[in-house]
Structures are given as C-alpha cells and as structure tokens.
C-alpha cells in the first residue's frame, strides 16, 4: 500500500485510510505503560527505600546493589532482558515439571515491568531523600505527644515526604513516559510502534514521526503542567 499521494490530513486523520485512531490508541497505550511502570516503580521503590533505612546490613546491601545496577544499565537492555528472558525462564521452569513451553507473557506486562524495575531504582533514591528531609525534631514532637508509629507516619512523616518527593517524581514520570517508547521493540502497539508501522506501511516516515512527536509533546507538557499545579497546592506551608 504505497499511497504516497494521500494528503497529509488524510494520512493522520480519522478517515478510512487515516491512521488517526491508531495513533490515538497508541498514545493511550503509552500512557497505560507509563502509569503501570510508575505504579510498579513506586511500590518497589518504597520497599527499596525502607530496606535501605533498615538496620539489617544484608537488606541495605541488596537494596543498594539493586539501585546501583538498575541505574547504571541502559533501560533498553532491561527491556530486552524481560522480553526475551521471560519466555526462556518460563520454558525452563515448565520443562522442570515436564510441561511444554508456554508462550510469552503479554508484551504490556513485560514492557511495563521492565520500565517499572528501572523506575523503582530512581524512585527509591527520591523516597530516601524525602524521608531524610523530615526534621527529626518534628518526629520527636510526635512521639512526645503520644502518637504511635502508624499515627506518626500518617500525620507527620508522610505529608512532609510527599511534599518533598513531588517535584522529582514529576521528573521520573516524564522519563517513564519517554522510556515507554522502548517497549516498542516488544511489538506492543504503543505510540512509537504505531508510528513505526505507519511509517513503514505508507512510506511517509517524516509525517508519522512528526505526528508521534506532537502527541508525545502533548503528553509531556500536560504532565508538567499537572505536576506544577500539584506542587503549588502543596507548597503553602513551606518556604519553596
């Protein structure tokens, strides 16, 4: 289908030959991957931060090593590891039980987990910084007032940590959005992949890559506006 005569509007539009819907659904999938990765990264990052704050040296070591490795290795390698490695792992486990090799897990899963694993390493650093930013005296005041550990966490520690981690988490979110493009190598039809397929199919790469860039720009700028809003709302009580 080498329709190089189609007009620009028809190509990226929503008509019968247009790739408009495909691009849109790609963008939605991009958001979904980024959100999933952010969620995985937050949970795992929180665990890693807690591990590094614990008193057990082996826990601290594991968390520190995880952070070092996953921040020092290209994200693309991690995606490759999960994309190719998971089916191999599943096949190996299956053969242990004498079962036939199952297929590969859904690309969305391996993709978002891969980005999530990397995101966790960065989020752990952010959480650690956030925890250190709560003045110890205020935690003592909470203890002196009779607040138990759970109440202290909820009423004093968490609100202040959240305020400090919001800006850097905004950055990490942006990186998740952009790193989701790496998941395209798994074949998942997120925005990068859709634009690639469209470019190859219509032999009009410039048009579709430009369209994809516009869509990414919309997503990233909307995100920074959102985070700026959230930061401003939470900053009433601090000097920032």
């Amino acid at each position: 289908m080498i329709d190089t005569d189609l007009s620009l509007a028809a190509l990226i539009g929503f008509g019968p030959d247009g790739w408009g819907w495909a691009l849109m659904s790609g963008a939605v999938l991009t958001l979904a991957v980024a959100l999933a990765a952010m969620a995985i990264g937050s949970v795992l990052g929180g665990v890693l931060a807690a591990m590094q704050a614990s008193r057990r040296p082996w826990l601290v070591w594991i968390a520190a090593t995880y952070g070092l490795v996953l921040r020092g290795v290209p994200e693309l390698l991690v995606v490759l590891l999960l994309y190719f490695g998971t089916p191999e792992l599943m096949a190996a486990v299956a053969s242990l039980f004498g079962l036939p090799a199952p297929g590969s897990p859904p690309a969305f899963l391996t993709g978002s987990i891969a980005i999530g694993l990397v995101s966790a390493a960065y989020q752990a650093e952010v959480f650690r910084g956030g925890m250190l930013a709560v003045p110890h005296g205020q935690i003592e005041a909470a203890m002196a007032a009779g607040m138990g550990p759970a109440t202290r966490l909820r009423r004093v520690i968490l609100p202040q940590v959240l305020h400090h981690v919001l800006p850097p988490l905004g950055n990490i979110w942006q990186f998740n959005l952009k790193d989701s493009a790496l998941v395209s190598i798994t074949g998942l039809a997120e925005l990068m992949r859709v634009s690639l397929v469209a470019a190859g199919s219509t032999r009009r790469p410039f048009v579709f890559f430009a369209a994809a860039m516009v869509l990414y720009l919309i997503m990233t700028s909307a995100s920074s506006a959102l985070f700026r809003l959230l930061e401003r709302r939470g900053a009433r009580w601090s000097k920032r």
Binding site: P135, E140, M143, A145, P159, Q160, S238
Partner: protein, 254 residues
C-alpha cells in the same frame, strides 16, 4: 502524702561507652515546679528525655501517675519497649516543649494544637478546636489559628508549642531548655507564660539556664552534675548560703 506524679528511680544511660546518667532518682508531686540545672554534658536534657522515653534508659524505672514505663532490658543490657500501647499511654500523660519548638511545619497553628487530642486521645474535633482557641488566647496568640509555623517568629512558635502541650491536659509537663533558642526579648514572654502555668498548679519539670526564673518560680531546684544529682532542695536553700559549695561554684558566673 499523695502518690507522686512522677517517680523515677535509678535512671542510668550511656552513649557509646560514655556514661551520661549514673543513677538518678527523682520524684515530683502534683503542682511541683522542678528546675533542673547543670552545665552542658551534665546529662540534664538526657534525663528529661528519658522520662517520656525519647531516650531509653539502660536501667531504672519510671512511673507517671501510676503508669509504669514498659521497659525491659535484654541480656546484653539493651533496652526495649515490650508494650507499645503502654508506651502510648505513658506519653499521653506527658507533654514536652522543645528547645527548637518542633511545630509540625505542614500543619497550621490550629492543626498543630488539635493533632494530639484528636488523633491520640480521640477527642471530637469540634471540642478540640474550641479548646485550641481558648488556649491560643491563653498564650497570647489569638488570631493566629490559620497561620503556618513558617510565618511565625521563634517566640510565637514556642508559645504555640506551649498551647500544643496544654491541649492534652497532661499530668506532667516537660520543658527542655524552652528559651535557649529565643532572642532575649522573646525569652521574657515565654517565661511569663510558664510562670502563669506554674501559678495554676501545673506539674512541670524544666531544664533551663534561666537562674532568676528558677529561683522565683520553682518549688524545687535540682543540680545535675556528671550524670548524678549533686544537690537538690527548695530555691531558698539552693540559692542561699546553705547551698552546696559545688552548686554555688556552678552559680557564680551567673
């Protein structure tokens, strides 16, 4: 003689091999205002912080109006809390005013004051808010309820901190050098407030360097030196000719 509000016996504490408290016994009865004086490194602040278990003593017992501190010591001598609920109950009976105020910076003045009553003692919020406004008036901070700690001066923050301490109607109030971080003009305001509280019959333990205040307001003065109580007694004695020579030596530069 009624039971003491505070009964601390044999409080011992070391930091990294260095013995800071070497066995302190202290009782306080209702309405007592006890000033704890001493040089830096004498252990006076550490002792105060042991009473609400911000520091855990290596040995000794603490009882506040009948509630015992749930301290156990394992074989290596390390202290542990064996009953978190009892710890909460103990701390609920005390209130502490810190040298650096330690107001919660993410809460307004009002929220700072109602936080403990509502979230620790279960007081209904409306009731706590009403009491908070009354306390703000008492400490001279009417109209500041919606302010943030960041917007207040040191003296103002400390007065709010005192209101916060009063909000739970504690059996025992602990003051850890409450005026040491204040400008000289502000020191007066806070001391006057504390004087008023003493006049109302509050049971107060105050670690301070303010000798005049200690002399005029306390019911008892305790001199801590090298981790033990060197001498103690009513101000008339401690600041008079019959005081121990060591204490008089401590006082002389003041």
């Amino acid at each position: 003689m009624t039971a003491p509000v505070l009964s601390a016996k044999g409080i011992t504490k070391s930091f990294g091999g260095r013995a800071v408290l070497k066995g302190i016994d202290l009782d306080a009865h209702r309405g007592d205002v006890v000033s704890i004086l001493g040089g830096s490194g004498s252990g006076k602040s550490t002792f105060l912080r042991c009473l609400n278990l911000l520091e855990m003593p290596d040995a000794g017992t603490i009882e506040i109006t009948g509630t015992r501190a749930p301290l156990v010591h394992d074989r290596q001598g390390k202290a542990r809390i064996d009953n978190p609920k009892a710890l909460g109950a103990l701390r609920a009976k005390t209130a502490m005013v810190f040298q650096n105020f330690n107001l919660w910076s993410h809460m307004t003045v009002l929220d700072n004051i109602v936080a403990a009553p509502v979230h620790v003692h279960g007081t209904p919020r409306a009731q706590a808010v009403e009491r908070a406004h009354a306390l703000l008036e008492k400490v001279g901070m009417t109209g500041f309820a919606a302010h943030w700690p960041m917007q207040l001066s040191g003296g103002q923050q400390q007065r709010v901190a005192i209101a916060r301490a009063l909000a739970t109607d504690p059996d025992l109030m602990l003051f850890d050098e409450p005026t040491s971080a204040l400008d000289p003009e502000r020191v007066r305001e806070v001391l006057d407030l504390m004087r008023a509280l003493a006049g109302e019959g509050r049971t107060m333990l105050i670690v301070t360097h303010e000798m005049a205040f200690a002399r005029e307001v306390s019911s008892h003065v305790v001199h801590v030196r090298d981790g033990v109580i060197e001498s103690m007694g009513p101000p008339a004695v401690m600041f008079g000719a019959d005081a121990s020579p060591v204490f008089r030596g401590f006082l002389s530069p003041h």
